[in-house]
């Protein structure tokens, strides 16, 4: 009954939320481009970055928040607190970081921090008002991590936008992501190069009913 009790508590809490405290979370597996997208949004509207990016998985290992971002388009405004989260994974092996060039002590520390990051990301999912799931469009979208995140959000009726990122890469397959999640809006972007980012912002207005 513990999980049901938690679910009910959070569902009721949403009715008493203060106006203006809209939390927009970026979620997804590691290395999908969540922080790259967070930086793009934050640079576009605030002129500053959110966090560090790299090619090594689990670069973001803590929740990173940028408050009061206001995006504007065609006379509409949307203000939110942007929450960039660590990538969610079911396994973390410090040896992968060794292969990426880190020293053993560094690799083990990174792995430990990454596991804590995943725990925090899962915990924070309960508090999001809207979620953008950032997927690497070159990878298989049918992962249990993606399905688990979406399943949780669907049950709580949290608006979801799926971003198929990295469309600048040859292997990107936006149609595959759309086919995997036909009940959701899926938009292909390149967060790194800003491709289709205006449509992404329009999609945010759409899913938040602004």
């Amino acid at each position: 009954m513990g999980l049901f009790h938690n679910f009910l508590k959070k569902f009721l809490k949403s009715f008493f939320k203060k106006k203006g405290e809209v939390k927009l979370g970026l979620y997804g597996p590691p290395n999908g481009g969540k922080t790259t997208l967070a930086n793009k949004i934050s640079m576009d509207w605030l002129g500053e970055k959110v966090g560090k990016v790299s090619g090594i998985a689990h670069e973001t290992r803590e929740i990173q928040i940028k408050e009061q971002i206001t995006i504007k388009s065609k006379g509409k405004e949307l203000t939110f607190n942007l929450v960039d989260t660590p990538g969610i994974a079911t396994k973390i092996d410090y040896e992968d970081f060794l292969k990426a060039g880190l020293k053993e002590k560094e690799a083990k520390t990174r792995a430990k921090e990454a596991t804590k990051g995943v725990v925090d990301a899962i915990k924070w999912l309960d508090d999001m008002d809207t979620v953008v799931i950032v997927l690497d469009a070159t990878k298989d979208p049918y992962s249990q991590v993606n399905i688990t995140i979406i399943g949780n959000l669907e049950a709580r009726k949290i608006p979801v936008l799926i971003v198929a990122n990295k469309v600048d890469l040859k292997k990107a397959d936006v149609k595959k992501v759309q086919a995997a999640f036909p009940q959701y809006d899926v938009i292909g972007i390149s967060a790194k190069y800003g491709k289709n980012i205006d449509n992404f912002y329009e999609s945010l207005f759409k899913i938040t009913n602004k």
Partner: protein
Amino acid sequence: MLTLQFIPYTEISNLSSEKKIQKLLKIVRDEKIVLLEGKLGSAEKSELIRKTMEEIDDKFKGIEIEDLDLERKDKALIEKMRSVLINFILGSRKGLTIIGPASIIKEIKKDPDKIQLFTEESKKKKKK
């Protein structure tokens, strides 16, 4: 040698979600692959991931998990809607879930009515 341990639905149906996850993780940590009758709910899966993360150490790297859906694809919309909430909390008896230690299973692929498990050896052969 791979050990597959079958867990019938009746063995876990009366357990709380916490106890269920504890039981499944214990088997996986013993380097066995769990074949669970039924599917975990989304809330249970995120709890499983959370607990897995807390237990990762030098020996235990985490898990690979995949499930096979045996429910009718042509279910009516109202049935599907009812399913969403029930599945979120309780999971489903229909289907099959595979959970294995990441040290043994490198990847699980679902395709769409069969599940392929790739071990370290099979991945090396695939690359050749």
